[in-house]
């Protein structure tokens, strides 16, 4: 099996949602996880610090041309898009904001789908915009799996709703179910 990639997008309310999903994962969780959270441009990457303290997996800021490693959670740096390259490395970019956001979830998801095809799981969490919908669709089209936080349980429903609308057969789940599914996906 090729190396598997989990790509997660979150916006308003995202830190709390991620706090449900990421800390339970084992230190040797055998996948790479790349996370885009919409954050204001000039904030130092507080997310990395916050989640390093909470998580058992290694947590770091994504670096340009960095090869993806299993057991590691990468956060997009503020004001940069994160892209996945065909050779399994990350790349950064200052291209225009997409959906008014940089980093944008669509950019991560679309390039991840392109690079890893069916070996990508995309997860769309709470948020008040539409970012991630096109990217989730791209992951589905490439044969990957999409999990979406049940809009009824999300702090902000707009982002998961947009993803539900864009996808044909995404699984709609509570945060606990998403967490369980990640663990189970590895146990298989």
């Amino acid at each position: 099996m090729t190396q598997q990639l989990i790509a997660i997008g979150a916006s308003a309310g995202g830190v709390q949602a991620l706090s449900h999903i990421l800390p339970p994962l084992a230190a040797d969780f055998p996948r790479s996880i790349v996370v885009v959270v919409h954050v204001p441009p000039r904030q130092d990457n507080a997310l990395v610090k916050l989640f390093s303290e909470k998580c058992r997996m290694q947590v770091k800021e994504a670096e340009d041309k960095e090869p993806l490693q299993p057991g590691t959670i990468y956060f997009a740096p503020p004001d940069y898009h994160v892209l996945v390259e065909g050779d399994g490395a990350l790349a950064l970019s200052t291209e225009e904001p997409v959906n008014h956001s940089r980093p944008a979830i669509d950019v991560l998801f679309e390039t991840a789908a392109d690079a890893f095809g069916p070996a990508v799981t995309g997860i769309v969490l709470t948020g008040a915009n539409h970012d991630g919908a096109n990217g989730a669709r791209a992951i589905e089209d490439a044969g990957g799996v999409v999990l979406i936080q049940d809009p009824a349980t999300a702090e902000m429903a707009a982002m998961p709703e947009a993803a539900v609308e864009a996808c044909r057969d995404a699984a709609i789940m509570t945060l606990d179910e998403i967490a369980a599914s990640l663990a189970a996906g590895v146990a298989e």
Binding site: D64, G86, E95
Partner: protein, 275 residues
């Protein structure tokens, strides 16, 4: 990881064609970003396939500038990452004062935001009159805009805030005149600037620099190409010359890292070691 699609093949052919016909070499750019932007160009310019876009570009020279605007990322701001400019003021300028004359290269200058930031900083620090700036880029439209030095006023609010955070001694408004929603920057800032078309990929070193500022250009290249460019910078720098790169760029993985030492680590300012 996944197999090559027809689209990926078409993209490679288009990049080959651009190189062989126009000598623009995007073949070793970071592929994910190039692909996104080419697909965007195909859609927005109204072509059904990348091959159709390729054919149009080869047969119609006037298409080339259009395509270049997609292939090169023209996103910039003045005093982007104020702490970089603050570090230049505090930790590089004192060294620059010791030279009788200075050469500074802004490589990949885009529409000039980085050039004017440095020119203003050099004026504030009393260095402008002894400095020659070389502002280079491969996108002719961007170079032209850099030469004009005119930016939308609504961006200038951000530039002003950045300038203040960079430790600016004056008000940014001292350096431009506002006119119909645009800020026109003072000609005197670029009086000693040479603008020229120069590719970091295909062109050679052209002068001996005391400072090279090349921010957010290396991230668009693949690793091999990054190596080539870092070596070009090493060749272009005077002994003990300075190199500043983007805040998320690094020489750490470069094959030529040993030609530099970190001068201000957090702000990605390096110094050429003696040769």
């Amino acid at each position: 990881m996944t197999g090559e699609t027809v689209e990926d093949l078409e993209i490679q052919l288009l990049l080959d064609a651009l190189y062989r016909h126009y000598h623009y070499d995007f073949r070793h750019y970071a592929q994910a970003s190039i692909k996104r932007r080419l697909l965007q160009a195909r859609r927005q310019l109204g072509f059904d396939s990348i091959s159709a876009l390729q054919s149009a570009v080869l047969h119609d020279k006037t298409m080339l500038p259009n395509l270049l605007n997609y292939l090169t990322v023209q996103v910039s701001e003045m005093f982007r990452d104020p702490s970089y400019y603050r570090a230049l003021r505090e930790k590089v300028v004192p060294h620059l004062h010791t030279y009788p004359s200075l050469k500074v290269w802004i490589a990949g200058c885009s529409r000039g935001e980085e050039l004017y930031s440095l020119a203003i900083l050099f004026r504030e620090e009393g260095l402008l009159d002894k400095t020659i700036f070389y502002a280079t880029d491969i996108n002719p439209a961007a170079l032209k805009a850099a030469q004009a030095g005119i930016y939308p006023l609504d961006q200038v609010r951000l530039f002003t805030e950045n300038h203040r955070l960079s430790g600016g001694h004056s008000s940014l408004s001292d350096y431009y005149t506002a006119d119909y929603g645009r800020a026109v920057f003072d000609k005197s800032l670029r009086a000693r600037t040479v603008f020229s078309d120069h590719s970091l990929v295909t062109d050679a070193a052209f002068a001996e620099m005391h400072l090279i500022s090349c921010r957010n250009v290396l991230i668009y290249f693949d690793r091999d190409l990054q190596d080539r460019v870092v070596s070009l910078f090493a060749e272009s720098l005077a002994r003990q010359g300075f190199l500043g790169i983007g805040s998320k760029e690094s020489l750490r993985f470069s094959a030529h890292a040993d030609k530099f030492v970190e001068h201000v680590r957090e702000d990605r300012i390096y110094r050429r070691v003696a040769r």
